[in-house]
Structure formats: C-alpha cells, structure tokens
C-alpha cells in the first residue's frame, strides 16, 4: 500500500518541489533576497517570480489541506526581499481572498454556518485589530522571532492534531444554547442528515481571543487554529469546522487587513501577484486533488513549515 501511495505521490511532489525549490527563479529570488534588496533586478522580475511562487504555493496548500496564508508569510518573508510588514499585509489579503472565494459555496451548502461563525468572528476580528497594531509596532526582529516560534508550533500542531469527524456532544452548554450554535447538514457521501450542537462554548470563545491576536500580528490565516478549536474543543463536526473556519477567515482577516492597509502595509506590486497567483494555484490544486489524494504532501508541507519557521527564528536572532 505504501509503495502504491508513494508511486502516486512522487511525481506530484517532484514536480511541485522542482518548481518551488530548484527553479532558477527561486534560486535567483533567494540570492537576491540574501543580498538585501531587489534593486539589481529589472522591475518585472519580482512580480513575476512572486506570481509563479504563489501559484505553486496555492497548489501545495490545497494538496496539504492548509490555508495559503500560513505558507505564504513564512516562505515569502524567508526568501523574498520585501519587509515583513508588506509580507504580512499581503498575507492577510491572500487569506482573505481565498476565504471570500470559498465562502459562497460553503454557505449555500450549509457547511459553513453563520450561527457558528458570527459569535467567534466578533471576538477574533476584534483581537485581530489589536494583534495587527502590536505586530506593526514591535521591532522587526522580535516579530521575526515570534513568527518563527509560531510557525514551528503550527507545524507540530498539524503533525500531531487528530481531528474527530463526528465529536460526541451529549449536552449543549448554556452559552452555546443561548447563541443558538447548532444546526444540521447533509453528509454528501452517505446522504444522511447530521445534527450538531456545541459544548465548552465559553472556553472556545476565549481561545478565539488568542487566535485573533496571532492572525493580526503575523498576517497568517488562522485556519490551523480555528479547526481544532471548533472541532475538538467545541464539538462541531469536522466538515462543519473546516468550512466554518474557512468562512471565518473572511471576517477575522478583514479587520487586520484594514489596519495594514491604513498603516501603509500594502504594496500593490507585491500584494496583487500574490493574491492572483495563490488563487489560480488553488484552483489548479483542487483539480489535482480530485484525481489523487497525495497524503504525503501534507508531511512535506509540514517539513517546509518547520524549515521556514526555523529560518525565521534564526533570522530574528541574527544567526
């Protein structure tokens, strides 16, 4: 079975890795970034490299089942010459665009739930504003160190997290009941209707304070944190958690994105090829995913995240 899996995965992985890490544009990007700026290259070089890089990231993100923002910020800040402020600003819009694109389908099918999303979104988006201000006011080296530590934590979380498809919630708590955080959806593979409700709602809401802060500080989409909290802690089914998390990003990231926009953290030359590249890559990724389920890609992405996290950490520490 392992041999069959590896035969399927290897060509995809090799192709993506080849594009991402051994292409001349990547090598040029890294060397130019290491030189400390982008002045030695013609102006069109960077938008083009960034577009191709983000296109491949978009494919990888879908295959690995992670959001684009969580890959974008550590990798682009590690290998491109833009200041971290602009990378975080663009990262928020990358995550926002992905969430806005996915949101309509998820809402119509009843997988993303407004009743589940609105209360947690209010908390997360409020604290994302605070996070954005903290992130923009701290010295870059400190943010770089914290970003590195956060990315390493996310990689470990992705590696160890075991989500539960249908968590058992015997009794809904008072907060969840008052907020009406329950609903139902059709499981398309079986045609069955599943009803769900939340528990430990108060604790879950409190964790969204932290999620909002981190999303705003580092410009990361926070799907990696939303899903385990909605699923493992609050007891929402995995499909509902994944869909609601994706939709939730459109609200959380909006508030932080506006702060970056108002504080000059958005350069269109950087942001637009990132957004468009990642979105097109995601569309291609969905098509590849429909034909194969390259589970190993997830582990490769976790390894890449660990690498990018360590690199950010070392960069912040001046090593």
């Amino acid at each position: 079975m392992f041999m069959r899996l590896s035969r399927r995965v290897t060509p995809v992985f090799l192709w993506l890795s080849l594009m991402l890490f051994t292409s001349p544009v990547y090598a040029a990007a890294e060397s130019a970034a290491a030189a400390g700026g982008g002045a030695d290259w013609p102006w069109w070089f960077w938008p083009l490299v960034l577009f191709v890089f983000c296109f491949v990231l978009g494919i990888l993100a879908v295959l690995a089942g992670v959001g684009g923002g969580v890959l974008y910020v550590p990798l682009v800040s590690a290998f491109f010459p833009f200041h971290l402020d602009f990378v975080r600003g663009a990262g928020l819009f990358v995550a926002l665009a992905g969430a806005l694109m996915a949101g309509p389908g998820l809402l119509r099918r009843g997988l993303a739930s407004l009743r589940l999303a609105l209360p947690v979104a209010l908390i997360a988006s409020t604290f994302a504003i605070l996070g954005a201000f903290i992130g923009l006011s701290l010295p870059t080296t400190i943010v770089q160190i914290l970003l590195g530590a956060t990315i390493i934590f996310i990689a470990i979380l992705l590696l160890l997290s075991k989500n539960v498809e249908y968590p058992v919630v015997t009794k809904q708590d008072a907060v969840g009941l008052a907020l009406g955080m329950h609903g139902s959806y059709i499981e398309e593979t079986t045609g069955k209707i599943y009803e769900y409700k939340t528990h430990r709602t108060w604790g879950g809401l409190l964790i969204f304070v932290l999620i909002g802060l981190v999303a705003g500080m580092f410009g990361l989409g926070a799907g990696w944190a939303n899903i385990p909290v909605l699923n493992l802690m609050m007891g929402a089914p995995l499909k509902i958690s994944v869909a609601t998390s994706k939709f939730l990003l459109s609200i959380t990231d909006t508030s932080a994105a506006w702060v970056y926009l108002n504080k000059g953290g958005i350069i269109p030359l950087v942001a637009i090829p990132s957004i468009v590249g990642l979105m097109l890559g995601s569309l291609v990724g969905v098509k590849i995913l429909a034909r194969a389920k390259p589970a190993a890609i997830r582990y490769i992405v976790i390894a890449v995240l660990l690498f990018a996290g360590v690199r950010a950490l070392l960069k912040g520490l001046g090593i």
């Binding site: 010459p81 949101g103 309509p104 058992v168 108002n262 958005i266 090829p273």
Partner: protein, 143 residues
C-alpha cells in the same frame, strides 16, 4: 450529535444564501478590477505616483519608513491619488476589504425581521468593529 435518514434538512437561512451571493459576485468583481488596474500600472498606461524602481529600491524598509521616504499619505489619503497607476490598484483591494462589512449590513435587517436580537446586536457590533478598523481612526500611519 444524531444522524437520521430523512430528507428533512434544516433550511439554509435566506440571509445566509444572500450573504453567499454577495460574496461571490463581490469577490470576482474585486479580483477582476485588481487584474485590470495592475495591468494599467505595470504597463505604464497610467503613470504611477511612485516609480516602480523606487518601490523595489525601498521595499525592504518597514512600512512607516517606506511611506515617509516616498511621501505617501496615510489612511485614506490614497484616495486623493487615485488617478495614479499605483494607487488605482487600491480599488480592487478595498473592495475585497469592504465585502464582509457590506455582507454584515445585509444580515442586520434579516435578523431584525426574525426578531433575533442577539444576532442583530452581534452583527451591529461587528460592523462597528470593522468600520473602526477601516476608518483609520485607530492610526493611519501612512502608506
């Protein structure tokens, strides 16, 4: 959590469907405008306020220093420069940022109609939070 075989699915609320439709059209409009304005910017058809070479020379600086050096106004000051190729790009970006606010504005009357005052309040407070972030009141340090 319970499972049943019946076809009686809780109806996806009308306000949720309306929100979805708004996001879908708004997002594609935003992306479309972004691509068009970016083309105008890169091709030089519309002259930028800051030359692209200057941007690439200074984009390694923190955002506040970058803005100061290039004399770029903060907050919504970019609106005054909308005729330039680089600031024209902000139209699509702002549309993306405004979609959630507009979406929430459509939810408020729907929740009032349902007499769901808790969610009406949540939606109103969320709009205020997002408007506060968007307004630049909290600090529009510069572009």
């Amino acid at each position: 959590m319970t499972a049943q075989n019946g076809k009686e699915l809780e109806h996806v609320p009308a306000e949720q469907k309306a929100y979805a439709t708004l996001l879908m059209y708004g997002c594609w409009i935003g992306i479309g405008i972004m691509v068009i304005t970016y083309f105008f910017y890169l091709s030089g058809i519309i002259e930028p306020f800051v030359g692209i070479d200057k941007v690439t020379d200074l984009w390694h600086l923190p955002s506040d220093e970058f803005s100061q050096r290039l004399d770029i106004p903060g907050g919504w000051g970019w609106l005054a420069l909308i005729g330039y190729g680089d600031f024209l790009n902000f139209i699509g970006i702002v549309i993306m940022g405004a979609l959630t606010i507009i979406g929430y504005l459509t939810l408020i009357p729907a929740y009032i109609k349902k007499k769901d005052f808790l969610f009406t309040s949540i939606a109103i407070v969320e709009v205020l939070v997002l408007l506060l972030a968007a307004s630049g009141i909290l600090g529009g340090g510069g572009h």
